[in-house]
Subunit: 201 residues, 4 copies
Amino acid sequence: MRTRQALVDAARVIFERDGYLDARLSDITAEANCSTGTFYTYFNDKEEIFAAVMEATKNEMLHPGMEHVDGVDDPAAIIEASNRAYLESYRRNAKLMQLLEQVSNIDPQVRELRRARGWVFVERNARAIKDLQERGLADPDLDPVMASRVLSGMISRFAYATFVLNDGGDFEELVYTATRLWCNALRIDHHLPGRDAMRKK
Amino acid sequence: MRTRQALVDAARVIFERDGYLDARLSDITAEANCSTGTFYTYFNDKEEIFAAVMEATKNEMLHPGMEHVDGVDDPAAIIEASNRAYLESYRRNAKLMQLLEQVSNIDPQVRELRRARGWVFVERNARAIKDLQERGLADPDLDPVMASRVLSGMISRFAYATFVLNDGGDFEELVYTATRLWCNALRIDHHLPGRDAMRKK
Amino acid sequence: MRTRQALVDAARVIFERDGYLDARLSDITAEANCSTGTFYTYFNDKEEIFAAVMEATKNEMLHPGMEHVDGVDDPAAIIEASNRAYLESYRRNAKLMQLLEQVSNIDPQVRELRRARGWVFVERNARAIKDLQERGLADPDLDPVMASRVLSGMISRFAYATFVLNDGGDFEELVYTATRLWCNALRIDHHLPGRDAMRKK
Amino acid sequence: MRTRQALVDAARVIFERDGYLDARLSDITAEANCSTGTFYTYFNDKEEIFAAVMEATKNEMLHPGMEHVDGVDDPAAIIEASNRAYLESYRRNAKLMQLLEQVSNIDPQVRELRRARGWVFVERNARAIKDLQERGLADPDLDPVMASRVLSGMISRFAYATFVLNDGGDFEELVYTATRLWCNALRIDHHLPGRDAMRKK
DNA sequence: AATGAATGAGTTTTCATTCAT
DNA sequence: GATGAATGAAAACTCATTCAT
């Protein structure tokens, strides 16, 4: 079983270095210091070890959601904390997220994986939105799931553009803009500082 | 030159049918009714003909922007029209958009192409946002370019999820949600009907 | 006919630049400013235009022989003049000689051409050797043709090593060594200066 | 490792049969009874296996030099033995020598190999010439290395013309002529029989 | 005579996968 | 479980040659 772990670790290194398509199984086994044949003791093909890499890194990539901020009740503050956590996590795992994106467009199983992971996030946010609506704090004319899909996608797309495509932008400004737009979109009556105030922080 | 066009047309068919990676040059030349050698009269490799396909379809994919709706001054109506146009265009060219997405994650030149196309959209919307701010109709605390990046990305991600990943949803509801969130996000004082009213349309 | 000449000239340029094997007919026609099809008006294939290049350069490569030095009767001086002329000619046409050597090892017709050219030289020298033997000035125990073959080959090999392989050596020293060995080999009673004297020249 | 040897052996057969250029890798693997892929386990390309063939045949092609004839001190006899050994070796390996000549004119690395092998021979003969000069037995006005380059080249060219180009000639006569010219060239006071005597042998 | 787009046969090369040890 | 040499299918690409204009 130590060999299996070595292979998964090696695969992550090689995938991050060469991308999914250019990664050769022989590179992975070389990196894991085992023979090519041994690969097949644990996996059937590249897709399978990729799935294993993703599985192994699942915990690193789970994003804390809005409801996980304890002892705070200001919706805007919770949203900000949630967005910040998401963006930081994305930044930390940018290489892996890029890989997930790349392989999603190649392998339907990975596409499914990405969708499933996305939905965790969407549903969590949908629950939070619904809660705010029920408490009269958010635009009641929005379908919570629909709105969550759009807003969650907004953040993940933004993170992709920023950390994978390097479309730039100061991190605090990203958090601020994402949060303000998110709050505005839900018509949350926030008391976020204005742009200039934020910049002076 | 007729041959070149035949190749580009054939390539689009094959790429849409098999995806970029599985498309064989020999399939493309067969579809174009010419020999494999002829391919190299016009292109050097698969990347090059893919770029040609993208170039040829550029016009189909250019999305009308917010400012192009004539004779209407209700910002919400303009935004709705703009979003509807974008989503319809995306739906029409879903296969091609999927391809663009796939190849972007493989070929840096195509990644650059996608980015460039995205910026056309971002900048157009940024100008519209700035205009609304100056007229006192939109949240002045947002950086127009930043906000546009986020909101434009929101729409394109949403379109991708809907039309490429088939994440479902009634088209009119998509337009409604996107528009309402967009308006809300900018704090545009819209007079969009409520959700229920929309549904009854 | 001007086109034909342009093709032959172009071929020489391309052959000397790229070598026989790497020269593409399309490079030759491009250099000659004519279309690929036109090539076949004048030649059937690469071998044929190569032969034409060689034919066109025949005069440049004809080496004056021993008997062509007028008004001098010192055999050693004649030999020296002959060797000098040969080596100078070889040096001038080194690229072409290299080409001839290369193609000889590929195309039997060119091998034949090289052999034929070599024999002109061998026979001329054989006659001169025989003449010296009859006048009692050279070793009578040598078969004139055999000796000429060996000695002529010696010079041409030497020239090849020096000017094609760049095996180095001061030109005057090459002439001196070749001449002295040639005279010695035929037991010509020469009065060539010693090595040191030569060097001081 | 048995496979590697099989490939090298097969390559020699195919190269000698078809020449370097016409030899297909697939012919070599077929001759070696292995698959095309196996070729790449041991070699990267045709050049590399050619080098291996040459390396494998190095010992066959090493020519005994002048100093290796034991118990004889007649310089002319030593030279004769040396020339005979060289020519016999060349005759035995004519196909390989032809190949070496052909590839030398194509591949710079092989050109370098040929040069290096030639120098072994040149230097050995240069030492022998110097020794004879010091003992007062050879023309002191010759630079030993220069003279060796010329005379060594003479023999190898002669061997090439005879055994590769089949320029003919009785073997014993070749040895006689080469030896007599070599001795004459160095002004060695030989006591070789005259031409007629040799022929009667 | 000149053109140059079209042709297509033919070889190299890669690398996931197998299996005897 | 581990090994790693052997496998071989599959595709890209080149360029001499043709021929309708």
